[in-house]
């Protein structure tokens, strides 16, 4: 533990497999924070569970990991299975259908996070009563905005349904391609509402930008720190949320590695195990575990790319980068602004794809020479998602390694909590409503997936516990 006057915080064995947030804060004799940890209960049994199953089941099976971003798991697994069936390049129809599915997922997920989870903090303030600082509060005070959130989410979900077959746990992507195209009738439904979605996206971006710029002095230090950033990147340096090579940069924007074929990720990324968490801590090998942790997700993606290949999002990116003088933006709360840039980019991409006749093509699947190993990466809404499988000659999966976005952001979220706790708790051994709110706001900036896989009624708290220097629990508060 950190010093002789503090005691180890024992994390009791947790048998629940669904996600929930638990924060432990350890104080010294002067009631200053010596340590704060954000424990995410993540059950990695899924990697064992898929062993022995036929490889072609993976794109459908792995979606059971998550009720929030099943499309991301579906596509990452499908990309890995493309490799297994020996396919390095899909037909234009297959790739564009998958991209449409992915941008639909990105659009609905970002809209949901912004309007449902983040906008109450932005519109009402961190200290507002939790009873109104929620989506219902937004619905009452800003009904037009709330309706936009609902309808944008619905639009993205309908795109997923049209491309994947179902809103949740679709079957669209298959090893080597896709199992359907987009009919003219389906396309026309989406074209009808496209302009409205674009306008609402611009409006959401403006809210996020105006809020960040107006509150920059407050937000700059809030749960913030310099960090490395990692994402996929297109060969020309453009943001690409579906496919690309790996790029990692430092907090100053220097490249740590660039254009790395993600099939070789194990040469660049390692995962550290810590005794107090079920979740692993990934880091960049060349920098080691202490300096090699990084952030993923919207903030990282906007920081790592050289440009965005859609005009409105690119203009927004330039404004975003101008705030930090072209240096990567390391402000945790800027995740929201970056997320809305990606929202706009996603609808611009959807626009582009819907006008592409390849979506009505009929050449859907490619076959190749069977391989025994495949890696698939995708930029999921919360960040880079890794799927890695080995398959035996009987077509059974014998190894699976999944690194989800929230795992990449594990260390940053811990640091954000520690910083917020240190700023708001020093000398006052109490969990105030303000502290609880701020911890919640800092974690939420990362949009972590805490509710993976199951949700049964009565489970989903954020629990913050305060321990004195002798290890005694002195306060605890739960946000349901």
């Amino acid at each position: 533990m950190s010093n002789s006057k503090s005691k180890r915080v024992i994390i009791e064995p947790v048998t629940r497999v669904e996600g929930h947030g638990k924060v432990s804060i350890l104080l010294d004799e002067n009631n200053k924070v010596t340590q704060a940890r954000f424990h995410i209960v993540e059950f990695r049994g899924f990697e064992r569970f898929v062993q022995g199953r036929p490889y072609w089941e993976m794109p459908v099976l792995v979606q059971r990991l998550c009720g929030i971003c099943p499309v991301s798991h579906h596509l990452a697994a499908a990309k890995a299975m493309d490799k297994i069936v020996g396919v390095d390049k899909l037909t234009p129809t297959a790739e564009k259908m998958r991209r449409l599915m992915h941008y639909g997922q990105m659009f609905q997920s970002h809209a949901l996070h912004f309007f449902h989870l983040c906008s109450p903090d932005l519109l009402f303030g961190f200290d507002a009563d939790p009873k109104i600082r929620n989506v219902i509060g937004v619905a009452i005070k800003y009904p037009e905005l709330a309706v936009q959130g609902v309808m944008m989410r619905k639009y993205g979900q309908e795109i997923i349904k049209a491309t994947a077959g179902k809103k949740i746990h679709g079957t669209g992507a298959i090893p080597g391609g896709i199992n359907k195209n987009l009919s003219i009738a389906e396309r026309d439904v989406f074209l009808k509402d496209l302009k409205q979605m674009l306008e609402w996206s611009k409006g959401a971006l403006k809210i996020a930008k105006d809020y960040t710029v107006a509150n920059l002095d407050t937000l700059k230090p809030f749960g913030s720190f310099d960090s490395n950033h990692l994402s996929l990147i297109r060969k020309d340096g453009a943001m690409d949320l579906y496919h690309g090579n790996l790029r990692a940069i430092t907090a100053d924007g220097k490249k740590i590695f660039d254009q790395v074929d993600y099939s070789n990720y194990l040469d660049y990324i390692a995962e550290e195990v810590k005794s107090w968490s079920y979740m692993k801590f990934p880091f960049i090998k060349s920098l080691g575990p202490k300096k090699g942790w990084y952030r993923v997700g919207p903030l990282a993606r906007v920081n790592t790319c050289d440009f965005i290949d859609t005009p409105l999002a690119e203009a927004a990116r330039k404004e975003f980068m101008a705030v930090t003088g072209g240096r990567p933006n390391n402000i945790t709360m800027a995740y929201h602004w970056a997320r809305m840039i990606e929202l706009l980019h996603s609808i611009e991409k959807i626009d582009e794809l819907l006008h592409d006749k390849d979506l009505q093509g009929t050449n859907l699947v490619v076959k190749g020479q069977r391989r025994n190993e495949g890696v698939g990466l995708i930029e999921a809404p919360r960040g880079t998602l890794f799927h890695h499988y080995k398959v035996n000659d009987d077509d059974q999966v014998v190894m699976a390694n999944l690194i989800v976005s929230t795992t990449h952001n594990n260390e940053p979220m811990n640091l954000a909590v520690q910083k917020v706790a240190a700023d708001f708790i020093d000398g006052v051994p109490n969990i105030t409503e303000g502290l609880l709110n701020r911890i919640e706001v800092a974690i939420r900036a990362y949009d972590p997936c805490l509710s993976c896989a199951t949700h049964a009624m009565g489970k989903m708290p954020l629990k913050v516990t305060l321990f004195d220097y002798q290890g005694n629990e002195i306060a605890s508060k739960t946000k349901e």
Binding site: V150, K154, L450, S451, A456, K479, E480
Partner: protein, 162 residues
């Protein structure tokens, strides 16, 4: 005078890959197979904000979910729209869906919660436990009769059969 019930929506939600967490979708699947007139059936992993738009198009909505602590074998109770908000989940609670439907779409929907008691939530790709299956059967019997009669006017108290 009782309000006429023409359109009923049943949403069963939960994760069928996690043992008894799949009770909600199991309710939806069974009822869906009956093709009852005027009943729309949806199964999903979780409730989300856009469900409010569909809820608002109906006279009655019944949410079906697994429960870790409701009375056995199930409970059925009227649901009142309630403001709230969860910490970080992208899902919302049934009462919040109703509140959104009321606030955003001026819905007058009447809501009910069917909670079926489950016991095993920690296994991947596991079927319903035997006890949960028994509870499901009883819940389906009750719900099937209710959907045939469509009489929702006298259901003001919690119904729990044992």
């Amino acid at each position: 005078m009782a309000a006429e019930v023409n359109k009923i929506l049943l949403i069963g939600y939960g994760n069928p890959a996690r043992a008894d967490d799949g009770l909600g979708p199991a309710v939806a699947e069974s009822i869906g197979l009956k093709n009852l007139p005027g009943i729309t059936v949806e199964a999903d992993y979780q409730l989300t904000i856009e469900d409010s738009a569909q809820v608002a198009e109906h006279d009655v909505v019944i949410f079906a979910d697994a429960s870790v602590n409701c009375s056995e074998p199930f409970s059925f109770e009227p649901l009142t729209a309630k403001e709230g908000g969860s910490f970080s989940s992208h899902s919302v609670e049934p009462a919040e869906v109703m509140a959104l439907a009321e606030n955003l779409f001026k819905s007058k929907v009447k809501g009910f919660m069917l909670a079926v008691r489950g016991y095993e939530f920690d296994k991947f790709d596991a079927p319903l436990s035997e006890k949960a299956k028994q509870n499901l059967e009883k819940a389906l019997l009750f719900l099937g009769n209710l959907l045939k009669t469509k009489n929702f006017n006298n259901l003001q108290k919690i119904i729990s059969c044992s």
